[in-house]
Structures are given as C-alpha cells and as structure tokens.
Homo-oligomer: 317 residues x 2
Amino acid sequence: MGARLARQLLERGTLADAQGKQASISKITLLDVVPAQGFSDPRIEVVTADIADAAIIEKVLTPQTGSVFHLAAIVSGQAEAEFELGMRINFDATRLILERARRNGNKPRVVFTSSVAVFGGDLPTQVPDTQVLTPQSSYGAQKVMGELLVNDYSRKGFIDGRALRMPTVCVRPGAPNKAASSFASGIIREPLNGVEAVCPVSADTPMWLLSPRYAINSLIHGHDIEGSAFGSSRAVSLPGLATTVREMVAALERVAGADVVKRIRWEQDPAIIRIVNSWPGNFITKRGDAMGFQRDADFDSIIRSYIDDELGNKVAG
Amino acid sequence: MGARLARQLLERGTLADAQGKQASISKITLLDVVPAQGFSDPRIEVVTADIADAAIIEKVLTPQTGSVFHLAAIVSGQAEAEFELGMRINFDATRLILERARRNGNKPRVVFTSSVAVFGGDLPTQVPDTQVLTPQSSYGAQKVMGELLVNDYSRKGFIDGRALRMPTVCVRPGAPNKAASSFASGIIREPLNGVEAVCPVSADTPMWLLSPRYAINSLIHGHDIEGSAFGSSRAVSLPGLATTVREMVAALERVAGADVVKRIRWEQDPAIIRIVNSWPGNFITKRGDAMGFQRDADFDSIIRSYIDDELGNKVAG
C-alpha cells in the first residue's frame, strides 16, 4: 500500500500544504522494515529501518516534513499472537511519530490508518458513526489508542491529524500476510493466479471492503480536506462496500469463471473466525460520505480493477 | 479518596480474591506522591513516591498483590495545561502498573478509575452505554487509553481489570484542586466551612454526581463483582445523580440556609466552562444499573452526608 501510495503521489505531484493549498512534492521518504522496490524517481528516498526506533523517526521526520502517511502496522493476527510487538509497532511507534511531529513545531498533516477492528462486541447490523469502540483484539485496541492520540494532538494544535478507519482492503496484491483478513484478498488473488486458496471463514461472513484504488484515493482525500471537516473527532469510518464472502465468490465466478472458483478450499479456522466475526460487516458512514470519501460500486468491479492493475488483464486459466 | 477507600477496606477486612471468594486483607500499600496521614493499622504500608517510576511499581506491585485500586491522576485542568505530565501520570503510569501485573502472572483484580471526561463532542442529552468516546480534553483521551489497556489486558487474561467511569465526586473533602470540576465540591464545601467560593460556570450547567460514600462503595463493588458481568468491555459508566448547579445551590440553601449560599460568588471562567461543558450531564446507565452499582437519591442527602462525615454534623454559621 505504501509503495502504491507513493507512486500515485509522484504521478499527482502535489498535496495540500499547511494552508490547504496544493503544493508540489519535493521529496518522499519511504520508511519500512523491508526496502521499497522499483523506484527510480529522484524525489524518492528509501529508508529501511525499524519505525519504533526513536533515532530513525528523529532522522526521517524533520521540521521540513509537511505530510506523514503512517501505514505501518503489525497486522491483526500477529498483534494478537505477539502482544508486545503489537504494542511496540502499532502504538509506541505511532506515539513516537506524533511526538516528533509535535516537537518539530510545523504542524504537519498526519494521516493515520485505523481499521474496522476498532469495533467489536455487541454491534448493530449497521454500525453508525456514534458507535462506542469496544475492540475485541489487541490490534483494534492499539488502533483506537492511536486514533485518540491523533485526535488529541490535533485538538491541541500539535499536528493536523486524520485517523481513517480503513475497510478491509481487497484485492491486495502480493503474498498472504498475518492479518486475520488476509483471506479476503487470498480467495480472489490466488485463484486468479492459478493457485489454491483456503477460505477460513463461512460463506455467510459479512465483509466491509475497499479496493486498493479507492483506499489510496481515500488516503489522499483524507490528507487534503480541511481539518475542520472532521468536527469534534479526527477519526472517521471510511465508506466501504458491504458484501459477504458468498457474494465475493459469486462475483469471482461471474468475472473469471467456475474453474477459477474451484481453487478455493473451505476450511474453517476458529482463531480467524473469532477475530473476523468481531468486526462489523456494514456501516452507516454519514460523516465519511459528507466529507466526500468514495467507495467501490460493487465487488465485480473490484475484481476487474485487480486483474487490470496487477495481472495486466490476464487471468490464469 | 485513596485514604477513604483504605479506611473502608480496613473496616471491611475482606475483598474478593481471584476466585471471587471474600478473602481477608493482610496488607494495603498506599502509594502516593504525598504521604497518607492518620493510619496506625499494622496492615497499612505507606509509600511516598512517583507512580510513574518503574522501580517503585516493581517494588509495590508483587506477585502477592491480589488487588490494585488505581486512582492516581493528573486532574483534567492540569492535564490540559501540562500535556507531558498528564501523559506520564495518566497513561504511562497506568501502563506500567498493567505491565507489572501481567508479568507477575497472578492475574490481579485491577480497578482503574475512569471519568465522564471520556465523553465529549456531539452528545445526546442522555448518554447511552453505546455512545462513542470522543473526549475533548487530554485528560479524557488519556482515560480512554487507560480503559482500552485495562480491557485488552483483561481480554488476554493478563489481569482481571475493571475500568469504572466515575461521575464527578461531590462533595470532596479537603482543598480545591486543578480539576475543572473542582468547583462542584468547592461551592458546597467552602460555604459550609464559612469560606467564600467561586462558581466558574453558569447555574444551568448540568452535572453528573456521586457522593464520596457512593463512590467508595462503587469502587469496592466494581472490584468484587465477577469479570464476566462486564460482557464485551471492562469499561462501564457508573450510575450517578443528574442535577444542575442551580439545583445543587438550591439544595445547599434547603440544608444549610440562605446565608451559607451567599458565600458563593458567580464569576465565569471560559477555560473551565469549555472543559465542563464538553462532559455529559446525564446518562442512561443500563449496564451499570444491571451490574448492581448504586447512586445517591438526591443532592440534599449528598450535602447531609458531607456534613455528617466531614464536619461532625456542624455547619459554619
């Protein structure tokens, strides 16, 4: 996601500055534990390091940094299994970034990616913007804590923050990861690439999705809109597409055929089911809609945009 | 509050143990930056130290500690003025306590006092248990973060935590403090002691109150009930008395006479008004009621219990 965002920013060439005016991007620093690949643009600096290392944050986040997109995270499944690692990367690193931004004194725009995992417990079928956050995973709890910091730092005027609750991004390119939601991309991506995929949840599982295209656009939109549009909280649930695993698979069959769908093996995993079922599958995103965030029209078009963007329009037969 | 809780625990002699059975209290360690006064009971150990000092927490919180009541806080007004201090005491110290409890491995019951300040922003007249938390003060944000840790540590089985959102405790004995809500006790306590008090908010200001008697009882009740009673979140809004500053003053006049009320000087303070007005003045506490938490019947009885407990039943003429 970070590399894709960077490519789109390079192409776009501008972002809103502190006054909300589009200003040209002179430099983008990509910080990750694995080196970003395939960038030749002179505006790109690649830093391969631990985001929870204060000295690194000190170095890459300077008073000249006008914008921060903080996407780094230990994903839900891993944060649940490795509690201390999750706290360190999902919470402590976020705090380091915000503290450094505060001390820089230039009030940068900071986009923090939060998640539907902030919700959990007893939820209505459609989750409203006013719903209490009772996360049922360490990842979700750490994300809420990040939201609270982003909000308080913004309220105090230390930064100009925005915490965007991303729907599950699907179809993610690349390899499966330890996110409990990894299967949502896997059951589409792997079959399209001629590979078998396991679906660890039931077909009835409700899903709240956003394609990488719309996710990237939402990050940039969330960066560029005025902070005042957020009202009394800098955290917002992004609009997404409400669907189910069954509808996703039906769309895959419509787009790519029955043989491709046969590559999905159904094998329930209680640990994944517990986490995924604690997330809401549908929202009423009045605030996000009013703020101009956009969502995908349907899952067929999400699959088609994956085939278009990542497979050069070719599906494995 | 800590000293009063300790006295009540000494008198009571027992608390629920890990299995929920009442067990006798062999030792109570009172940790505060100012030394607790007036204890001669051999079960009391007084430690005067910084609660955010890891070495101190290491020392006082041992694998033999079955229960922790964590009341220490930088109050709302001060946490707003001194951001770093608020983060250190309200958040970092809470995390230190929970981490130490986790490493001790004996799953102690930890009662964390949260606050109505966790709420803010656009609120309904009566705040339900499902209301999203959008605090409008650093104190409120730090309390929500503490709640989230208590909840996640409990969900993971590291501790058996309970985060109780206290109404404004009134009438607090002692001196005014830097809490934005300090006036709520001051406008009753000072006039009853023959001293002038300033009321910095308008008479219409809604208040959500609990007397020290009921507050202490709620802390002990919150400790003793089964963790499963909390359902999907260990944080709960405690039942309180919904009133207004005007009704509080009218009760003072009924209980102590018109001359006492004349000792209140009305002088608005915008900084206090901003914080206090961001808090809700009324709640629907279905969960807290169902869990057996009790509230005061009316403000007249709150004043009378203050006169009884703290003034030896005598009011300054």
